[in-house]
Symmetry: C2
DNA sequence: ATCATATCCGAGTCATTTAGTAGGAATTAT
DNA sequence: ATAATTCCTACTAAATGACTCGGATATGAT
């Protein structure tokens, strides 16, 4: 019941992009340095985010990545689902369906999985990238004043 | 971000025990047959539940397993945590701590992980084994009347 | 006592997934 | 041209997940 590094690194990369790609393209290399994630691996992760439409790229020198939308318009749920797949605790095709599973014994547990799933999605869909950027700014402030 | 078979099978086994171990000991074999889970594997899973104190056993002929408490007193959270470990989406020692992570970049995401974690635990701690038994009874009824 | 029925328990296996690496092709600003 | 950059395919090592096996131990019934 854990997120993989894709989800964890990817969210950090997106926060990084939200902070640094306001005007300029941001290269993998610079994200990699700030976030201490290997360039190669980060590249793969950002490719997924690009494919999902949250990031756009420019190739060649001075190229790099930018967000396609404002950080307010991208939720943590968007990011995590792009990287991790659905956030359901089980693979059950009927989880969002009122049908009763064939095996009635399996069926009861479905209610549990659905409630877990709903609660996770509710949390991540109600945190925007901007919320995290704001948190980050607060943290940076409090670190400075010490 | 998935539960393993331990959690899924284990929850079904516990529901089975809640229904069938009211008077008699219930053998691995009989749970295995009803739930279609291999005896060997089920044995390992129930060992975990026993270790966690939710199940007790009697060895030898006519032996088997029983719940140690009433189904009302065992939550789905108790069961899942016994089988899966904590239900946090990341391994972060500071997740339940107000400390700031050393790497400030990592820290912001911690708020996300904590909120996910809290919401999952809130859901599973508020569903008791008895709730699921009741659901099961309802399902069985509606299946009968078709 | 013996035997069938159970749990207990350590070890081993096989497949899948995770978490990357490596290396080169394609693109573009300077 | 060249340096910087994304893009893309293939590969690998380690960890995890999902089991199986076989034998030891315990116990009620005959």
């Amino acid at each position: 019941m854990k997120l993989s590094t894709k989800g964890r690194y990817g969210l950090r990369a997106m926060i990084d992009l939200a902070i640094h790609s306001k005007e300029n393209q941001v290269s993998i290399k610079s994200i990699s340095e700030r976030q201490e994630i290997s360039e190669n691996y980060l590249e793969r992760i950002i490719a997924l985010l690009k494919k999902a439409g949250y990031v756009k790229s420019t190739r060649g020198a001075q190229g790099g990545y930018m967000l396609t939308k404002k950080p307010e318009q991208i939720s943590v749920g968007n990011i995590l689902r792009a990287l991790e797949g659905d956030l359901n605790p089980v693979d059950c095709s009927l989880i969002n369906d009122d049908k009763v599973c064939l095996e009635s014994g399996l069926c009861v547990t479905k209610f549990v999985w659905k409630r877990i799933s709903d609660s996770i999605n509710d949390v991540v869909d109600n945190i925007s990238l901007q919320d995290l950027v704001n948190e980050q700014i607060e943290i940076d402030k409090s670190q400075l004043s010490r």
